[in-house]
Symmetry: C2
């Protein structure tokens, strides 16, 4: 049992980020610039609709204009790319978010790559991935950026620590591993083919769960005093970590909900305002 487990409160972190952003939106507005995020939803997946609505609402509450584009399920790759190119050329739009996943017949990678790097506030392009991997300023994917922001908010050291990341997706496991590495963590990347996963997790000072399986990470996998970041979001508001079992062992842990999720949205807002400020330079 760890003496005092710190609950890493995502709402608190998100609110502080948004307070800072509100001042910056004010400065932009005073210059006649209204920051604008365009969101594109293709098809009628109910969870995706919810996510896009949440992002739009978060924009509006902060004074960021939210332009919602909802395309039919039958949209082709070419049609989607044409919409993205229009948004690239529209100087009123500062950020473009294409909600993942798109219908199976659409080439999602081609659509992501069509987003102009300066407007890639969700960090999905290959150029953005590489810049982030090389430590060059760019918009990293929002969930990895949120994980780092939570660690920084609570002044949890990263350098010299052993981080074990479970998951290797292009927008979460891979970029967060490289960001932790660039912050001088030693990083182990695990996945579905990893053997002896629990033994590796037990080595971790920092555990990032990004595996997409409810309550997957068990309490007896965790080293006393480890820091746990749960990027999972499974049906029924369940994370990738068995929270109740891990809580007494960890020194710090994100809950689900109200952990990584709200900070991910705050990072999207931040990137949109960053982009709006850059066009104004």
């Amino acid at each position: 049992m760890y003496a005092q487990t710190l609950i890493l409160d995502g709402n608190r972190v998100a609110n502080q980020i948004k307070e800072d952003l509100a001042a910056r939106v004010g400065q932009l507005t005073a210059k006649g610039i209204q920051p604008c995020l365009a969101t594109i939803l293709v098809g009628d997946d109910p969870s995706s609709e919810t996510y896009v609505r949440m992002k739009g609402n978060a924009c509006r509450r902060l004074g960021i204009h939210s332009r919602r584009i909802h395309l039919d399920q039958s949209t082709t790759t070419d049609e989607l790319i044409a919409v993205i190119q229009e948004l690239n050329e529209d100087s009123q739009v500062h950020g473009i978010l294409l909600q993942h996943p798109v219908p199976h017949h659409v080439d999602e990678r081609a659509a992501f790559e069509a987003i102009q790097p300066e407007k890639d506030v969700d960090g999905v392009t290959m150029l953005g991935f590489a810049q982030n991997a090389f430590g060059i300023a760019s918009f990293p994917s929002c969930t990895p950026a949120a994980i780092i922001a939570i660690l920084d908010h609570y002044q949890i050291p990263i350098a010299g620590k052993h981080a074990v990341v479970i998951g290797r997706s292009p927008i979460l496991g891979k970029p967060v591993s490289l960001m932790l590495l660039n912050r001088n963590a030693t990083v182990t990347i695990c996945h579905s083919k990893t053997e002896g996963l629990e033994h590796l997790v037990r080595l971790a000072d920092i555990v990032v769960a990004a595996v997409g399986k409810p309550a997957f990470v068990q309490g007896d996998w965790i080293k006393q005093g480890a820091v746990i970041l749960d990027a999972g979001y499974n049906p029924g508001n369940i994370g990738d970590v068995d929270y109740e079992a891990c809580l007494p062992i960890a020194s710090a842990i994100t809950p689900v909900p109200a952990g990584v999720g709200p900070v991910t949205i705050a990072m999207l807002l931040k990137h949109t305002i960053d982009a709006a400020e850059m066009t104004n330079q």
Copy 2:
């Protein structure tokens, strides 16, 4: 003491790759296409001159045309980029290699990024890095590609194994980590800020040493039966691994010289021929 340590013979692997390539050069030549690699050396660093000469000689022995461009130490970034753009536009040139490092006053990243992705046979552009990271066909950096080729030549399994990579450079540690990950290894990336390095190396089924410190990896860091790939090449033909100490413990090990080095050059030749074949499609 491991019963029988396999010496991973880089010359043998390189020769087999080059035999396959010779046939492909013959087919290209029969169609009137002469594969051509342009190498650019900026300044007068003697080791860089040696590397470029070795690469040029390897090209010529295989029937690949080698166009050597030697620029003055005082060359500016803009001048270098202009040379690269000429080579991009020259349909006789299939691959472009800018020898690292360039003089300090030159922006090496900007110069690398000027190389057209289709001609980036040395795998230095950010787009190539990201494609490789995402498992999309591309030219990976040659040393990481050589490490994978050696493992494959000797049919050493990668999937499910724990690989520990020491080093995190953009052209070696990071890309080889991602390539091993994409081949379903569990990967730990270590570096100068790693604490307890020897304990982590002792967990490894596969050790990749890419740290640039002579005889750095010690015999008592190695698990019985581990596979060791030494990508180091320090003055005096010394690798990053204490070879004599590790030899009796490893199940397989690359020597230095005649380990990773010759296969790295073979991969450069292979990528050049791949590029020549693609322009002919």
